[in-house]
């Protein structure tokens, strides 16, 4: 359904022109997404996981067409994204859910207007009455009541606002949804409710999902396939079970190991990762060669020089010299 090919996206983060001229600074570009390719089949859920600066949110925005990629193509059901966006009938087939329940709803609009907007824009309701009915039905579908339509967003809790966001995303009757960290701002128990809701809706409506998150555990429950991103590139991508039970890329292993494990109380943990004080480098100034090499216990001279390309290895694709050369220790 969705095909992303060699997409690269750069942001121009240079200082204003006058400043640059006076100080003599060159333009500065931040490569948020670097030669990323993946596909999503109809009905499946692909999750993109990574920490800050990995580019997953940028990918989400590129996929729905909020920005045009600097390089590469994105195809939706065979057609290029730009032509899809130009046709309302096609454009309504995808929609997006955002992370922050507090800024994703217009504080001055009533909830029924918020949910009704996609319906109005795409002309899916014949008149006001039909519109009202559809909005009420959507509210019930996400676990709220029809009367909630009269209220304003600030009268709801974070979890309820996410439900409203979901209702809005479903209002245009899409087949494909991009979810940008929808539960990251919610409490654990509310998160469980929202994730269950999303799974139910997906099953019932046959949706295809692109799910973005930094939380591997959440992603475990939502995905068929998982892609791990680091500093703008996909380092490993494959079926969820394989990623979790047999992670190959050192970064994937680091992420999995970093997850606090509740079944092991008092576990003495020595966190994985080369010089252990390193963190994710600044995306403006990425390391040479493989972006992960400063933190990788398996890094060698080749890793510092050459950026690994993603290759199929078993059922997952991995971008790592150590894997390619068979240097990877078993877990």
């Amino acid at each position: 359904m969705l095909q992303v090919t060699s997409v690269t996206h750069r942001y121009d983060v240079s200082q204003p022109w006058l400043h640059r001229v006076l100080v003599g600074e060159p333009r500065q570009c931040l490569t948020a997404v670097d030669n990323v390719s993946f596909r999503i089949e109809r009905g499946e859920t692909l999750s993109l996981v990574g920490e800050s600066g990995c580019g997953k949110s940028t990918v989400a925005r590129l996929v729905v067409g909020l920005h045009a990629p600097s390089e590469g193509t994105i195809r939706f059901q065979g057609e290029t994204l730009s032509s899809v966006r130009a046709q309302p009938a096609l454009r309504r087939q995808f929609n997006m859910i955002f992370q922050d329940p507090y800024s994703s709803l217009n504080p001055r609009w009533r909830v029924r207007d918020v949910i009704g907007e996609p319906i109005r824009v795409f002309g899916l309701a014949s008149d006001q009455v039909a519109l009202r009915q559809r909005v009420d039905a959507l509210l019930v579908q996400v676990g709220l009541v029809a009367e909630d339509g009269e209220k304003y967003p600030h009268q709801f809790s974070g979890g309820q606002r996410q439900r409203i966001s979901i209702a809005r995303a479903l209002a245009s009757e899409p087949v494909f949804l991009v979810c940008d960290e929808p539960t990251s701002a919610l409490d654990v128990s509310v998160q469980a409710q929202i994730l269950n809701l999303m799974r139910d809706l997906q099953r019932r409506l046959g949706l295809t999902l692109l799910f973005i998150s930094h939380n591997l555990a959440v992603v475990r429950h939502m995905s068929d396939r998982i892609g791990v991103m680091y500093l703008g590139s996909i380092v490993e991508i494959g079926p969820a079970d394989d990623i979790f039970h047999a992670p190959r890329h050192p970064y994937t292993r680091l992420l999995l190991d970093a997850l606090p494990d509740m079944t092991q109380t008092g576990r003495k943990r020595s966190p994985v990762g080369g010089p252990i004080w390193c963190e994710v480098p600044d995306p403006i100034d990425p390391p040479t060669g493989c972006p992960f090499h400063p933190r990788c216990p398996l890094a060698d001279a080749r890793c510092r020089r050459e950026k690994p390309t993603i290759m199929l290895s078993g059922r997952t694709e991995v971008a790592c010299h150590a894997v390619e050369e068979g240097r990877l220790p078993d877990q």
Binding site: E51, S52, S157, G159, Q160, D187, V188, S189, V190, Q191, A192, Q193, L195, N196, R199, H214, N215, L216, A217, V218, R220, H221, A240, D241, F244, L254, L255, L256, D257, A258, L259, P260, D261, M262, T263, Q264, T265, G266, R267, R269, S270, P271, G273, P275, I276, W277, E279, V280, D282
Partner: protein, 322 residues
């Protein structure tokens, strides 16, 4: 040996400030717990449960118009709630260190971190300027800032998020307090950095015998480094006990539900266990047990009488089922 003793703490905040009629709502309603010397107590709960308020109340940093209206807080046998601000100021830093969630606002952007460390140390300890500076350098080394000699004169904005949090930890511990209150120390950080920070906290606390009150919503973090855990719900403690008992054999239905809702990496579930409904707001607290509207095992008594903490196995739980 008990270091901190909180008994029946009640904190009230006017629920609609600005109106002529002020209704006070109990944001913390009868919370009691102890922290022994050198022990790590985790305080876990969701947003609105009152865990940050408890931490703030202990150090006297409760934002007005909130007030402690009942109960006592004792540090080493002496009451510290209700002390005048000047005495509380001396307490903070010297006997109680604090770490907040956002390292960006904890550090003063106008001063170098060396200056901030030295100032904190010299306020509470009898040290000369050179001695304090040497110690500051050692602290930076200890918390893992590479190149401490140079970095001691750097400003906060020159550090990354994780490094700033390390500096904040150094700042909190440099005056050698007996108790450290850490309020969501890792929430604003990336997952891989969280692991390091938690390990660092654990190490430092053990090394110096500092007691820690670790406030977080992340049960996994508590599971890793805490000795005991207190589960808070709606301004009350639902369960408190040794970490392995509470996590493996939770006695309170809320604790059980909370642990169940956390998705595990081990296997994929068809449906996550969920707790329906939301935490009640302080001005709309149900009668009896605060959790009963959402509790799968509630019965009549739960609706009428509020359960107090009673022993269940080696923990304490506030539940009539115990």
């Amino acid at each position: 040996m008990t270091l901190l003793s909180v008994r029946d703490l009640v904190i009230e905040i006017p629920s609609r400030p600005g109106l002529t009629r002020r209704a006070m709502a109990r944001f913390i309603d009868g919370v009691s717990f102890d922290i022994d010397k050198g022990e790590i107590l985790g305080v876990v709960g969701e947003s609105g449960a009152g865990k940050s308020l408890t931490g703030a109340a202990i150090t006297g940093l409760l934002p007005p118009p909130g007030r402690i209206t009942g109960g006592t807080v004792e540090l080493d046998g002496q009451r510290i709630d209700g002390l005048p601000p000047s005495m509380l100021r001396r307490l903070r830093g010297r006997r109680i260190g604090m770490i907040f969630q956002d390292p960006l606002t904890t550090l003063d952007p106008l001063f170098t971190i060396g200056q901030q460390l030295v100032e904190t140390m010299r306020t509470h300890l009898p040290l000369s300027d050179t001695a304090a500076r040497a110690r500051a350098r050692d602290w930076l080394d200890r918390v893992g800032i590479p190149g401490a000699d140079r970095r001691i004169d750097a400003y906060p904005h020159e550090f990354s998020g994780g490094q700033r949090q390390r500096v904040v930890i150094a700042l909190a511990l440099c005056a050698e307090p007996d108790l450290l209150i850490a309020d969501e120390p890792t929430t604003a950080l990336d997952v891989s950095v969280q692991a390091h920070i938690i390990a660092l906290l654990h190490e430092l606390a053990r090394e110096r015998g500092t007691a820690v009150m670790l406030i977080t919503h992340d049960m996994g973090v508590i599971a890793e480094i805490a000795d005991r855990v207190a589960v808070m719900y709606a301004g009350r403690i639902a369960e408190i006990g040794r970490v392995d008992s509470v996590i493996r054999h939770p006695s309170h239905p809320y604790t059980d539900g909370l642990i169940g809702t956390i998705p595990s990496v081990a296997h994929r579930l068809d449906r996550l266990r969920q707790i329906d409904g939301t935490m009640p707001r302080p001005d709309a607290m149900p009668a009896g047990c605060a959790f009963h509207p959402r509790c799968p095992k509630g019965f009549d008594r739960c609706r009428q009488d509020r359960p107090l903490l009673r022993p269940v196995g080696d923990s304490l739980a506030a539940c009539w089922l115990a």
